[in-house]
Symmetry: C2
Subunit: 340 residues, 2 copies
């Protein structure tokens, strides 16, 4: 192990700098020497040391991925592999490698990001979440590191590049869908209020309720984790109410699955006694019984576009921030019904 540019230079009888230029396919080198150098590389089985190159020219051809904290839980939600699939596809097209953080707590992840950035391991980052007070985002902004966020930044969204659905509109449409079916007691089950996606969808829900001249009910808005367990908790809370809702907007399929199972255990049948519309439209939405009507948010595309934007930013400095809206679409299945 250890064929270097020098060995190639010796064999090809040129200077190391020439070899370097051949690797970069510089137009200033004659075809003849290029050939000679290349065959020397071939003969020796030379492969460039990317680390050394990175140090010299300050570029890594790698992008970093920042997961939300509690990665452990994140991986349980099918959103993640799907967005990763989009990211991976985009990175592959642009010949970039992916570098992943593995921290569990917010603090650890912050440290990792600093190390990625200052350690010059990556040329830029994609944040796989967007939350209200994010020290990581602030850090990246301050240090002028190229980054893009999947989701809408809470603040300064006009100067930050991001890829997102129109979650306000999606939340509104989902709610209107239930309103159109005649429901008037509609509850909202979302994730943490720290997550911008929750805020946006909730705002859309509010708007729809308000436009329909229905009373706003505090007790109809629940926040839990984007996991089955979260859905379960939410149902328990809602069913203690005197005036139970007849329909639910659930901000995540996995959560909706928990809702469904818990309702089932309690003998409440969907969609007869309760209508449900959820978000993401991952495989489990289709598999659930009844199959879930769900808002398809095009997760793959979110990841794919995020990487494209990031690489554009890395390649052309001082680019203006770019905002990309990925369209959504309600996919109707069997979890909603007209109210009697």
């Amino acid at each position: 192990m250890g064929v270097t540019i020098k060995d190639v230079a010796n064999l090809a009888k040129v200077a190391p700098s020439t070899v370097s230029r051949v690797i970069a396919d510089s137009s200033r080198i004659s075809e003849k020497t290029k050939k000679r150098v290349r065959s020397a590389m071939e003969e020796l089985g030379y492969h460039p040391n990317i680390i050394a190159r990175s140090l010299a020219n300050k570029t890594t051809e790698a992008i970093g991925l920042v997961m939300p904290s509690s990665a452990d839980k994140v991986f349980q939600n099918p959103f993640f592999p799907e967005v990763l699939r989009g990211i991976s596809t985009g990175a592959h097209e642009k010949k970039r490698a992916i570098y992943m953080s593995t921290g569990e707590t917010e603090e650890e992840i912050f440290t990792e990001v600093v190390q990625m950035v200052q350690g010059r391991r990556v040329d830029g980052l994609v944040l796989l979440y967007s939350k209200v007070d994010d020290q990581i985002l602030t850090y990246l902004q301050e240090h002028n590191v190229p980054f893009v966020v999947v989701g809408k930044p809470f603040k300064h969204s006009d100067v930050i590049t991001y890829v997102d659905n129109d979650n306000f509109k999606a939340g509104k449409e989902a709610t209107e869908y239930l309103l159109d079916l005649g429901h008037e007691r509609i509850a909202f089950i979302g994730g943490s209020l720290q997550l911008v996606v929750t805020i946006d969808r909730l705002t859309g829900y509010d708007k729809a309720i308000q436009s329909a001249n229905l009373p706003y009910r505090d007790e109809y808005v629940i926040h839990e984790e984007f996991l089955q367990e979260g859905g379960k908790e939410a149902v328990h809370e809602l069913l203690t109410l005197k005036e139970r809702p007849t329909a639910l907007v659930v901000a995540d399929d996995l959560m909706a699955l928990g809702v469904l199972n818990t309702l089932g255990e309690m003998g409440i049948s969907v969609p007869e006694d309760m209508s449900i519309i959820s978000f993401n439209n991952v495989l489990i939405a289709e598999m659930a019984r009844p199959a879930l009507t769900s808002v398809d948010i095009n997760i793959f595309e979110l990841g794919y576009q995020a990487v494209r934007c990031l690489i554009k930013q890395i390649e052309t400095p001082h680019l203006f921030a770019e905002q990309i809206r990925v369209p959504h679409k309600i996919v109707q299945r069997q979890s909603c019904k007209k109210i009697k």
Copy 2:
């Protein structure tokens, strides 16, 4: 951006080498100067350049992940995020970062691996699959790169470190489970025969069939992709037979889901007309209707142990190869029934 060891050295009035030793917390430096240097680092907001360190000491604190080809498809199977969760947890415990390949074809992935290795981007690799003729594995062996495989290597398994279930036994037990229910016409639906996991489970199936003195039927063994589509194809093949099987051993839950859906479409009910036992025990096994009896192979643990072994190998050279068996367990649900 750009505080270096030199800046720190100047401020602390020591040599750069001393700063370096303080970073490494060398015992040869007095507490007094350590303190001085550390406060200088603090004051300047110093963070080590990991790339430079890697170049100097030839270590990266990162591990590489090699996906099976067609990563695009792999990400659709819930096996992947779960094994990644284990890997991420293990990597995090040992403070290693994860580097992911993004290639689509075998050729591309091979190139990426060579670049990771020769480019010194990673200290070692984990292969997330095991197949019959794997040039990547051969390459890593030849170049003495630390690596571990999730799954059993086809050849030289005694000198390669790997983490796997006892898939022979698991395949045998799954088949015996059906035999015990009185089934005699049992088919096997597996993945590509290039994958060792398929071979092992199939061999176990064969063994069980043989031990039960049942005839071996070529037409009862089908190979498809580990996707829903694969399950669908398999069912279409099996149902053309004159003597249809009454039970199926399916080597993957996602595939089993495809089987289930296709049988449903054809009006064949599970478990009344057909029993199914599958593998992996991911969420969809539990969600399927009927819920699938599935062999839990402890995917998280496969990933977690793989990383632990890898890091052990990296840290202690010339270690003997290690083989780890992760236990499996049949989880009974509603997809199997005694034959009438």
